[in-house]
Amino acid sequence: MTNDRHTHSPSQGIDPGGNDEAAYRQRARAWLEANLPRQWRGDQVDFTAPSFDACRDWERRLHGAGLAGITWPTEYGGHGLSLREHMIANEEIGRLAGPESVNSFAKEMAGPIMLGIGTEAQKRRFLANILTMQEIWCQGFSEPDAGSDLAGLRTRATRDDNGWRIDGQKIWTSNAHNADWCLLLARTGPAEHKHNSLTLFTVPLRQPGVTIQPIQQITGHSGFNQVFYDGARVPPDGAVGEVNAGWRAAVSVLEIERATNRMYRTNRFENEFNHLLRVCRGDAALRTLLADRHYRQRLAATFADIEVLRRHVRAAVASILRGGGIGGAGSFIKLHWSEAHQRFVELAMELLDQAPVPASPEVAAARRRFEGAYLAARAETIYAGSSQVQLNIIADRVLRLPRER
């Protein structure tokens, strides 16, 4: 962790302007074009993944430019703007396919949960440090015996004279090896109370009672971990929300988050699509495939998939802005995006695999990108609520189909 404490005041960021969406978009685009190093953009032939520290610094600058923490209140380091600006800025971030956030859980979930149900002291202590990237967060929800079914969680938090003691094991904890804090869900009452005996805690990860073991993923990388808590300590004020009731409050925050986070996804998808087309057009053998009716149908279907994704995202934003509900938008977006993206990366591999050898640098770079994307996409229909969980949500909460056993 760096001790770099330079901060940027929001006033240094790009001018949000009035209601002029096009002008705001233009300013966001201009800043990103000028500041995001070319070799960090996924569609460049000399793409090089930035290091963790480089990502951290980049995200700090994004915030300084007014392009992160957009909807968070200014008193907690945010920019106090609406979901409209949040959407536009993220669309522009996705357009350049820059690095994914290394603090996404903090920005998309831990922060919004604290804004929703945290104490004033917690908001002041944690929120600005998330945006300035001084503290990295990870999520401690899933356990080896409880994946999507959080009612079965066993990790226990016990109250004693000095605060809380945490014992148990968490799994799939993305980024724990880089994180300073974990937002942990632990049992604070009888197990038979299921969701009603769970409490959220802010757990400092760099302490003796915490052991982190990386899990190697199918991509070969280790993005997530097993985390063991053996008498780990949390100070007395470390619960977020009410004890035994925090989880229910958090769920309502997360329902909105699911529909509004990752709004860069549509344009990032489009960046990949355009990258594939550009590389195919530039290669004599691949170019002939673009005239093949089979591939034309699938490429057009991908284009339509991306447009439908954009409609789902914008419909959700429009609904929230007009004061309407979120409906099933979070599940629509997640399910549609993850499945459409899987279909696309399969198509990209099929096309690029037909390039002649030796491959040009452009084709080779595209193959690296899409082979990585293909493997990574297997997780997209699993994490953040698998496709089957999303279908259950649509059936139960959107269609309200009766639930009789």
Binding site: R296, F303, A304, A318, S319, L391, I394, A395, E404
Partner: protein, 345 residues
């Protein structure tokens, strides 16, 4: 920022339109026209000079959807478009269409050849898939000039005078039977030459309105299927307790929502004459054609053997949707979209 949800005004108009459709005479086209004209909906896209409301496609989508939901046995899409196009070419005809005093149809397949003779314009040729041609007084069709292959304009034919040979088409749609019309000998027609501008509009707007009609039908089938599995008991429990059925409905719902958003967006882009309007229309048609067919087919599957009976309207909706996709299915829409996105093959 674009809001795809219909506003209150649109919803209210569509609700009134749907009510009129639910009570519409079902056997007699002339009676249906008079009945529907009372709400003003037949002139919703037409100019105010001919008694129309001068509204846009975004307003017409929920109305076309209601026609699909109620299985309206009437060439609504054709009349909405004809009334909008004819106010300059044949204002009296437009006035009659808006007022429900006449019925029009459109030759969606084929073209007529137009020739300028000493006694005025004459057209010949054949047109396929003309919905409810036997009830129509006016026919609109694309025309080519002698020796040319591109559409030069539209012909407006008075079918009472022209009396073409009409052969019933082998279409699936039970509510709007189509015919093939053949003009063996040259007949008089009103010709409007504009390098295909009016026909391009009719074809593009027609595709969107047809897709909205499909969506209305598909949603009605989907709702029926949801209700059926939510009330029917098998093996001691409700059918809907089976997760596989819940997931089927959830997937169909997601696809229909995507189609609905895409159609609303395409209509707004078209109304605004936005540069990407054509792309948006092709996306909407591709997505809607696929989603609506699947939802209507799955609704039959979810009804089991009852879904295969003549008595339930599920087959009528599937027929109506299939007949609409026969003019422009998902494959054709994606092929046209590929031209836009990838360039010529």
């Amino acid at each position: 920022m674009e809001d795809l949800a219909p506003n209150e005004e649109r919803t209210a108009f569509a609700t009134a339109a749907r009510r009129a459709m639910e009570t519409c005479p079902r056997a007699d086209g002339a009676a249906a026209a008079r009945h529907l004209a009372e709400t003003g909906l037949l002139g919703m896209l037409a100019h105010e000079e001919v008694g129309g409301l001068g509204l846009g496609l975004a307003d017409a989508l929920p109305v076309a959807e209601a026609a699909g939901a109620t299985l309206l046995p009437f060439p609504l899409v054709e009349i909405l478009l004809a009334a909008a196009e004819l106010h300059r070419i044949l204002p009296d005809a437009a006035l009659a269409l808006v007022g429900g005093e006449a019925v029009a149809s459109i030759g969606w397949r084929g073209r007529l050849s137009a020739e300028d003779t000493a006694s005025g314009w004459r057209v010949t040729g054949s047109l396929g898939r003309v919905p409810m041609a036997e009830q129509a007084r006016w026919l609109i069709a694309p025309v080519c000039l002698p020796g040319q292959e591109t559409v030069a304009g539209i012909a407006v034919v008075d079918l009472l005078q022209a009396r073409p040979e009409a052969v019933p088409d082998e279409g699936l749609d039970l509510e709007r039977p189509a015919a093939t019309l053949s003009f063996g000998a040259p007949v008089a027609a009103e010709i409007h030459l504009d390098n295909g501008g009016a026909w391009g509009r009719i074809a593009a707007h027609g595709a969107l309105l047809r897709a909205a009609d499909m969506l209305g039908s598909a949603e009605a089938s989907f709702t029926a299927a949801s209700e059926h599995v939510s009330t029917r008991r098998q093996f001691g429990r409700l059918l809907v307790a089976n997760q596989v059925l819940r997931h089927m409905l959830a997937r169909d719902h997601l696809a229909l929502v995507g189609a609905r958003h895409s159609l609303a967006h395409a209509a707004m882009q078209t109304d605004a004459a936005a540069p990407d309007a054509e792309t948006a229309r092709l996306v909407a048609c591709a997505v809607a054609a696929e989603a609506c067919v699947h939802a209507a087919e799955n609704a039959i599957q979810l009804h089991g053997g009852m879904g295969f009976t003549w008595d339930l309207p599920l087959h009528r909706r599937l027929r109506r949707i299939r007949a609409a996709t026969a003019l422009f299915d998902a494959v054709a829409a994606r092929a046209a979209l590929a031209e836009q996105v990838l360039g010529q093959a």
